[in-house]
């Protein structure tokens, strides 16, 4: 098992990979993770802890930094998603990327390695390290193989995320010193830092540092402006990884770090965070509706969907958190699929402007059907994965804040509007443009069919995923509920005094 973990890490040392090697590498990883997942229930029952695998090597003892990886249900699911989308990313760029192939795959695998690291690490320094590691290759992916305006988009992406990442580093260090001064043990170990005693004031500042990194990455509405540019200009594989995986690291960070490390401060900020979540849902949906660039459109739907994530996370209800995990996965798949479709359309007609499209259904029925499926998924049609996710989030959030939940539900209606608009403008309507199109090739079908299968499967049998995430989620919830109860008690007490 430890060897398997090392294999992932060593993945990045394979330099300059041609397509096959990288495909095999990700397939191997995917197989490995899948294997672990299938054995999940057995292994969980065997041991009491919910950490499946751990690896802990001292790295820089001077600062109490260790190379500490661990995996639980949540990270397992995220890894499954990572490698699944990783395989698809390699397959989609099979034809799209025609120059500097080796370097492209090198970057792609580095991004995947960085993301894998982020999902696994249990050492805050290492976390920051991986957080940064995944940025540079992503920068290159956008900057070298992107579309017309790639340089600008790449800069913007890099500087936004880097700036917020540095704030997180400051917070990590602040936490490190506070913990060290209080206990005499200077360490970046997640489990030890969990028990740090913080005054509410300090906790608030430190949490804001972490939050900065995660909400920029997620992104939450005023910090989302890098996203449409980056998504639009990136090559298909880049958009796929950005939407499917990089955004999820932000959500993962919220679940894994912000809430457990700073439960008190998180409760304080929750109403605001939920408000911003709702704003994100509605604002993203509105902008998505107004876009004419198909990739930009899909990018704004991401903003909207990620609004659901932060909305759910900060409702602090177990069921909503389940929904968030579900949303992370289904969004990765449905949005990823839409990006792949947009990419393959672009390969055929060399434009992303939906005003120039129309009436493609008769020419490419297979593609049209697929687009229909994923548009439906994106609007939350029952039977598909996204429905479960959004439904769970809304149920959970209802208990926390009813007004906002109603508003968030309106977002679903808006989602219907923009999703249908994609289908209508691109595939239905008049065909006056005279493009000659070929339907999906075998390779493209090979990419899309599994996606459809997964999204339907997630919609019909979500229980297996929920079970996997359950223990990690229920690990997060307890200190929250006690805390929010306590604060409510205090409030009532305060009221009694008055």
């Amino acid at each position: 098992m430890v060897g398997g973990l090392l294999a992932w890490m060593s993945e990045k040392w394979n330099p300059m990979l041609p397509r096959w090697i990288s495909l095999i590498a990700t397939l191997l990883n995917f197989g490995l993770v899948l294997f672990i997942w299938l054995n999940y229930n057995a292994s969980v029952n065997l041991s009491d802890s919910n950490w499946l695998l751990t690896l802990d090597l001292p790295w820089i003892p001077r600062f109490g930094i260790s190379f500490h990886l661990a995996m639980d249900g949540l990270s397992l699911l995220m890894l499954l998603l990572t490698f699944f989308l990783g395989i698809l990313a390699i397959l989609t760029s099979w034809k799209e990327i025609q120059y500097r192939i080796g370097f492209f795959h090198f970057n792609l695998l580095w991004v995947l390695a960085g993301i894998t690291g982020v999902f696994l690490t249990m050492d805050l320094f290492l976390f920051y390290f991986f957080w940064e590691v995944m940025l540079i290759p992503m920068y290159f992916l956008i900057g070298v193989w992107g579309h017309e305006n790639r340089r600008y988009a790449a800069y913007k992406f890099f500087i936004f995320t880097q700036a917020s990442g540095l704030l997180m580093l400051l917070s990590i260090l602040g936490l490190y010193f506070i913990h060290g001064n209080a206990t005499g043990v200077f360490t970046f170990n997640y489990f030890q830092l969990l028990n740090t005693e913080l005054s509410p004031e300090v906790a608030r500042w430190l949490m804001l540092g972490f939050l900065a990194a995660f909400i920029v990455k997620l992104p939450v509405v005023p910090f989302h402006t890098w996203l449409p540019d980056a998504h639009t200009e990136a090559p298909t594989a880049g958009s796929l990884i950005l939407a499917g995986l990089l955004l999820k690291t932000g959500a993962y960070g919220l679940l894994r770090f912000v809430i457990p490390l700073f439960p008190g401060a998180a409760v304080e900020i929750a109403p605001w965070a939920m408000l911003f979540g709702v704003i994100g849902i509605l604002y993203g949906a509105m902008l998505a509706f107004a876009q004419t660039d198909i990739k930009r459109l899909v990018a704004y739907t991401s903003v909207s969907h990620m609004g659901f994530v932060i909305f759910g996370v900060f409702s602090f209800k177990e069921i909503a958190l389940q929904g968030v995990v579900m949303q992370m996965i289904t969004h990765g798949i449905s949005t990823g699929a839409l990006f792949i479709l947009a990419g393959s359309l672009y390969e055929r007609i060399h434009t992303r402007d939906i005003l120039k499209m129309g009436g493609f259904w008769s020419k490419v029925p297979f593609m049209g059907t697929l687009a229909m499926v994923f548009a439906m998924a994106s609007l939350g049609l029952p039977g598909l994965g996204n429905f479960i996710a959004e439904f769970l989030i809304l149920i959970g959030a209802w208990q926390a804040n009813q007004v906002l939940t109603v508003l968030a539900t309106i977002g679903l209606v808006a989602a219907t509007a923009y999703s249908l608009r994609i289908v209508q403008k691109v595939f239905l309507g008049q065909d006056g443009k005279g493009y000659s199109l070929t339907d999906l090739s075998f390779r493209e079908k090979l990419i899309m069919v599994p996606l459809v299968m997964v999204i339907v499967w997630l919609g019909l049998f979500p229980q297996s995923v929920l079970d996997t995430a359950k223990r990690s989620i229920s690990g997060i919830v307890p200190h929250l509920t006690t805390l929010s109860d306590a604060s409510e008690e205090q409030k009532t007490k305060g009221g009694a005094h008055e």
Binding site: I60, E132, V133, F158, Q162, A163, L167, L173, Y176
Partner: protein, 480 residues
């Protein structure tokens, strides 16, 4: 002079005698290779001696010098850096200058000056070291006599440095007038005995800050940096950026911690302002440049600002951070300028941004090395620069300098922009003829190539596994 005294100063003797040896050998016959070998051997031998001698014990030669772990560490660093500069000088000067031998004398003398600087504990030795360093630099900067800008840079540096020396000297005089001693420890004792610092002494320190600030090219004393960096030959620029600045930083750390400068809010304030101004102005000016050497000049101003953050942290962690950052910065700067000098041709240095267009596809290895160096300057993980920056932030956070640390974070982002810009240009498609390279003996290229490769390996090694260096620094660098 006791035996121990002698053993301690042997590193300086080796440098002096090799300078004289070169002088004589030039008078017999000019031979570039021979001189080059002598220089490298004496620097390397000196370093080996230092390694053997290193014991971490303190030895003081009253009243001028102190030999301790900190001094030894910095001397070693300076010697190695000079060695690398020598390595890249050969190829560079072989193509350009007919009288290239004297350059090595100057290089060794400048190294001697810096080495004297880091072990001095007295104003006299401080000034002596500084002047040996500066005077050699005047002529090194203007060494390519036929280039207009080289001369200009030389004159500029001469005037500025002489000016700053005068400030420094006057400051020392004021301090001496009030305290009656020129020894660091004496000044510390005087400061400890008085409750409030006399105004004259404060003025003296202020003038000294001006003098030192000029050498470090921190804002507002940074005006010379860009012109001198641009005009000087690439190896000399590397030398200025590393040895000359590093020596002064080491001196500053020693002096400041000895007189307990951290207890005087006015001084801390002055350095805080200088640090913040250097970071911001350095980075903003670098944003506007189209010349790689000028970008690096302003970026070095910003880096000195970062260093001052760790310097202001003041505790043991701060000193460690300064030392580690110096190592990382030395490796990185040497690498960057080294690559710059290998790319340069006979008439001018490769300094325009267009020279780098599409470099990745023309000379992939060179471009990859340069990218690594730039990423390290920007402080991206897997490089030494990242660990250095982390160290500094840790020191700053540990000593609660939140303002400085936040400024540093903001500036890292600004800095990122122009480093990334150079990298982006290297990644662009290149249309145009590739110039043929290689008019010299291939072994020359092998030497500089190997040097660059070693630097790159060090860069990644310190970035991935910094523990070794940290232990070394922690073991050696202990001022009290």
């Amino acid at each position: 002079m006791s035996k121990n005294d002698f053993l301690s100063v042997v590193p300086l003797f080796i440098l002096t005698s090799s300078a004289i040896l070169i002088l004589f050998s030039i008078s017999v016959k000019r031979n570039h290779i021979f001189i080059y070998v002598i220089t490298s051997l004496s620097l390397a031998g000196d370093f080996v001696y230092l390694l053997k001698y290193i014991s971490g014990t303190r030895w003081v030669i009253e009243p001028l010098f102190i030999f301790d772990g900190f001094g030894e560490f910095n001397t070693g660093l300076i010697l190695l850096t000079s060695l690398v500069v020598t390595m890249m000088s050969y190829a560079y000067f072989e193509q350009r200058e007919e009288r290239k031998e004297e350059y090595y004398i100057l290089l060794i003398l400048a190294t001697l000056g810096a080495a004297a600087l880091v072990i001095s504990k007295h104003f006299v030795s401080l000034f002596l070291g500084l002047e040996i360093l500066s005077v050699s630099l005047y002529s090194m900067i203007a060494y390519l006599r036929k280039r207009e800008r080289s001369n200009e840079a030389g004159i500029k540096y001469l005037i500025m440095a002489a000016f700053s020396s005068a400030f420094l000297l006057f400051g020392m005089a004021l301090v001496y007038a009030t305290s009656g001693t020129m020894e660091f420890s004496g000044i510390a004792a005087f400061l400890a005995s008085t409750n409030d610092v006399p105004v004259m002494m404060l003025a003296g320190f202020g003038l000294m800050i001006v003098g030192v600030g000029f050498k470090l090219s921190v804002v507002p004393f940074h005006m010379w940096a860009a012109d001198v960096y641009e005009g000087a030959p690439a190896p000399v620029t590397a030398f200025i950026a590393t040895v000359s600045k590093g020596g002064i930083v080491a001196l500053l750390v020693r002096f400041f911690s000895q007189i307990h400068g951290y207890n005087y809010p006015s001084m801390v304030m002055a350095f805080t302002i200088i640090a913040i101004a250097s970071m911001f102005i350095g980075n903003f000016l670098a944003l506007r440049q189209n010349n790689v050497k000028r970008i690096l000049a302003y970026s070095s101003t910003a880096h000195m600002g970062y260093l001052l953050v760790a310097f202001l942290a003041g505790d043991a962690l701060g000193v460690e951070a300064v030392s580690f950052y110096l190592v990382a910065y030395f490796v990185t700067s040497l690498g960057a300028f080294g690559i710059l000098s290998t790319l340069s041709d006979k008439d001018r240095d490769a300094e325009k941004l267009e020279d780098y267009k599409g470099l990745l596809w023309r000379r992939p290895w060179t471009a990859a090395l340069l990218s690594a160096m730039l990423l390290s300057l920007a402080g991206i993980p897997l490089t030494a620069g990242f660990v250095g920056k982390f160290y500094i932030i840790a020191a700053g956070v540990g000593s609660q300098h939140w303002l400085l640390v936040v400024m540093l974070a903001v500036n890292s982002v600004i800095g990122l922009y122009y480093y990334i810009r150079i990298i982006a240009i290297m990644f662009e498609q290149y249309e145009g003829e590739d110039k043929p390279i290689g008019m010299l003996n291939p072994s020359v290229y092998i030497v500089s190539g190997v040097t660059m490769a070693i630097l790159a390996v060090l860069l990644v090694w310190f970035g991935v596994y910094p523990e070794g260096m940290m232990t070394l620094i922690k073991g050696l660098v202990n001022l009290n």
